[in-house]
């Protein structure tokens, strides 16, 4: 039974797990809930492994492998099938999603062990995996949208998992509503896509793009509009400027959720979507530039906020926003494979960072403020070492996963077909900031003297169920980037080679684009002329590495060597410090410009005005007219028979007069 014909099994397993745990789990023991939750996801993961094995044997002509299971919607020309698709990009995403989910499920058995609603948590997690896999496997944009909205729903449910905590509930609502703004653009984009191509199937659309020339570098062309609308959805889902505000608040949810949904998988859905739609974006250079611009601005901007955050999870949240910005930068400069590569390595090291942060919080008995930690490295060594490895990876220290992917993105921004020196400089500055704030986190948390009451806080290493996932992810954060290692020697990047068909099958055939990339090819041909050793030295001493090390040293100098410097700087540049510390007051500005006016309008116009006055008024008014006229007219029923007699006579006279009058008219 080749799984290629039964793709739906990969989806059905987590859905089944979610249903069993959600509907019946209340009466199950914890081991039973664990068995169902982890079992369904691990079976799903094993199916993906088997799928990859079979996929590797497929002839190139059969890729993308599409399986149509049933027709979901038909309305005139509009037809949507429940059809699933497998190609190289899907395989990568399937591995990332199922594997990280599996680790997070295992971790959660330790982290959530003492929580109420244990079965509910696992049911939501399984449901999330189901929707995420739907998103990834979908062969048409509408089914993808189902997964897209489904993961949003699960995100909402899990952020507000501690539903008795007011801040958690409002954070959940904020996440849901903010992404809804982006999803509106996405929906319009889908409609425009159907209107243009008369189909929602990826492959049908992509085939038609083959006949379309690339649009000029200006807004207005239909492909450009479609791409920008689709990207709006990605801005919301992947927390880019200006819709990023929900992600830091989403840290109210349990830490495993932050790791899985708000770092490794769901927030990268936007990146996946843009990569999937690359034939459209390749023909809309203006939209592509917008993607790169939003990405690099977000990468830099979020990194500056990360500098001064003191909540360990908030630092990681802004770091996630920033890294997502790098992925979009990669896509935007045409290095799709590098963007997806960074998505994968980021899933490893950022998932690890969050899980390790969860372990720190667990050890500190719920404390999240880094200023109340310090000196933890001896007490929780496993957490310390794994988190340190993840930090090396995210900072871009050579040899670790993040280095390879980030280096490729910066490389493309600096010398690729869509290179732009300003994008490169900003991205480079962001990389330096990333290195600084990540090592600041490490130094504040694990080094120095403890800044908490050692008698009150009983620091302890986490159970095996939590540390083993940390170690596995640490391994991947170290070696997960080595697919790209030959790139350093001037050779082929295996990852890029694997994904090559996705990004080249529907590439722009000829014209301006081609010439630009030829020029780029000529440039890289010049570089290839260097010997592998020279290439390696060049890569290892390039600006990204230097700036990453500079960030490390600066953090060391500020927080280990002379800890009084940050305070002095704070006094020196108080204005800037306050501005950044308060996250540029963006939440306050949004509240003043959008949220409060909206609330005011909703309360005073829509609620008190339209609902109470207009609608209730109309309903009550009709009732009042009937009641008032009734209370007046009832006086006729006086009970006096003679007055009734008079009415009868008057009526009879009236009828007679009327009939005589009519008689006259008729005659």
């Amino acid at each position: 039974m080749p799984i290629l014909n039964y793709l739906w099994i990969i989806l059905a397993l987590p859905l089944l797990g979610s249903a069993i745990n959600g509907l019946l789990g209340k009466n199950f023991s914890k081991p039973a809930v664990n068995a169902i939750g982890i079992g369904s996801v691990s079976l799903s993961f094993l199916s993906v492994v088997e799928l990859a094995r079979e996929f590797a044997q497929l002839p190139a002509g059969d890729i993308p492998w599409v399986r149509n299971y049933f027709t979901w919607i038909t309305a005139g020309q509009f037809k949507v099938d429940f059809s699933l698709q497998v190609d190289q990009l899907t395989i990568v995403m399937l591995f990332v999603v199922t594997f990280v989910s599996l680790l997070v499920h295992v971790y959660s058995t330790g982290y959530m062990a003492h929580e109420e609603g244990y079965y509910r948590f696992f049911s939501y997690l399984n449901l999330f995996v189901f929707f995420m896999l739907t998103l990834v496997l979908a062969a048409n944009v509408v089914l993808m949208f189902v997964g897209w909205e489904g993961v949003g729903l699960c995100s909402y449910l899990l952020i507000g998992f501690w539903s008795l905590k007011r801040s958690a509930i409002s954070a959940g609502k904020k996440a849901f509503i903010t992404t809804r703004i982006g999803d509106f653009g996405f929906t319009v984009g889908i409609l425009l896509l159907f209107w243009t191509f008369k189909s929602v199937d990826f492959n049908a659309i992509f085939k038609q793009t083959m006949n379309m020339p690339a649009e000029g570098f200006a807004p207005g062309g239909v492909l450009t509009v479609i791409c920008i609308l689709l990207f709006t959805g990605a801005i919301g889902k992947s927390a880019q400027l200006p819709l990023y505000v929900w992600l830091p608040d989403a840290m109210e949810g349990p830490t495993p959720v932050s790791a899985l949904i708000h770092a490794a998988t769901m927030v990268t859905a936007g990146v996946y979507m843009v990569a999937r739609m690359n034939p459209l974006f390749a023909r809309a250079p203006f939209a592509l530039f917008i993607v790169a611009l939003v990405g690099v601005l977000t990468a830099f901007y979020a990194a500056t906020i990360g500098l001064l955050q003191t909540d360990i999870k908030k630092v990681l949240a802004y770091s996630t926003i920033s890294q997502l910005g790098y992925m979009f930068l990669g896509l935007g400069v045409g290095a799709y494979a590098a963007g997806v590569f960074h998505l994968m390595t980021h899933a490893f090291f950022k998932g690890l960072l969050f899980l390790a942060a969860g372990s720190v919080i667990h050890a500190m008995g719920g404390e999240q403020d880094m200023l109340k930690m310090g000196g933890l490295r001896k007490q929780i060594p496993v957490t310390y070492w794994t988190m340190f490895i993840a930090t090396l990876a995210i900072a871009g220290i050579p040899g670790f996963a993040g280095f390879f992917s980030k280096d490729e993105i910066l490389d493309a921004a600096g010398s690729g077909p869509h290179a732009n020196i300003w994008l490169w400089l900003l991205a480079l500055a962001g990389a330096g900031l990333t290195s600084f704030y990540m090592f600041r986190l490490i130094f504040l948390t694990f080094f120095g003297k403890p800044r908490f009451d050692a008698h009150k806080v009983h620091v302890h290493e986490s159970p095996r169920s939590m540390t083993v996932p940390l170690m596995i992810l640490a391994f991947l954060s170290t070696f997960g980037g080595w697919f790209a290692a030959p790139h350093l020697l001037g050779g082929t990047d295996y990852f890029e080679k694997f994904l090559h068909p996705i990004f080249s099958t529907y590439a722009v055939p000829a014209g301006v684009e081609q010439q630009v990339s030829l020029a780029g090819a000529a440039g890289s041909a010049g570089e290839i002329a260097r010997s592998p050793i020279m290439e390696l030295i060049h890569s290892l001493t390039g600006p990204p590495v230097i700036i990453a090390l500079a960030g490390l040293l600066l953090a060391w100098w500020f927080y280990i060597k002379s800890p009084e410097i940050p305070e002095r700087l704070e006094q020196r540049a108080r204005g800037l410090y306050t501005l950044i510390f308060h996250k540029y007051y963006v939440d306050e500005i949004y509240a003043a410009l959008i949220v409060n006016p909206l609330l005011w309008i909703s309360t005073n116009v829509l609620w008190h005005g339209v609902d109470e006055t207009l609608i209730d008024g109309a309903v009550n008014g009709v009732a009042r007219v009937a009641r008032e006229s009734g209370s007046q007219l009832r006086e006729i029923q006086s009970g006096n028979a003679r007055s009734y007699a008079s009415w009868v006579v008057i009526g009879a006279v009236g009828v007679t007069v009327l009939m005589l009058g009519l008689w006259g008219v008729v005659r």
Partner: protein
């Protein structure tokens, strides 16, 4: 032969008297009698028209009216007796409980 208008005028006068008595009298029995008077005024008109047009329809109507009047008198008088037993009065002004 007496012209039809004579009969009709007589009928109208009788009917008018019946209405006036119907509206202004207080005794239920009297009101009852005024109804009979109006019915008979109408009967007179029917008979006169039947004679004038030489058709039987009017006469048939009259028979129906007499039958209905007899039935109505039976029911009505029964009600009047019950009312008197309950209220010891036939004054219509005092029978006014059934109202808003």
């Amino acid at each position: 032969m007496v012209p039809i208008s004579y009969y009709l005028v007589l009928s109208a006068i009788l009917f008018g008297l019946g209405i006036i008595a119907f509206v202004f009298k207080r005794n239920i029995i009297t009101i009852f009698m005024s109804i009979e008077l109006m019915l008979n005024a109408v009967n007179l008109a029917f008979v006169a028209f039947a004679r004038a047009h030489n058709q039987l329809d009017g006469l048939v109507f009259v028979f129906f009216v007499i039958v209905v009047a007899a039935a109505e008198a039976a029911v009505g008088l029964a009600i009047v007796i019950t009312v008197y037993q309950n209220r010891q009065s036939l004054n219509i002004e005092r029978i006014n409980l059934l109202k808003f």
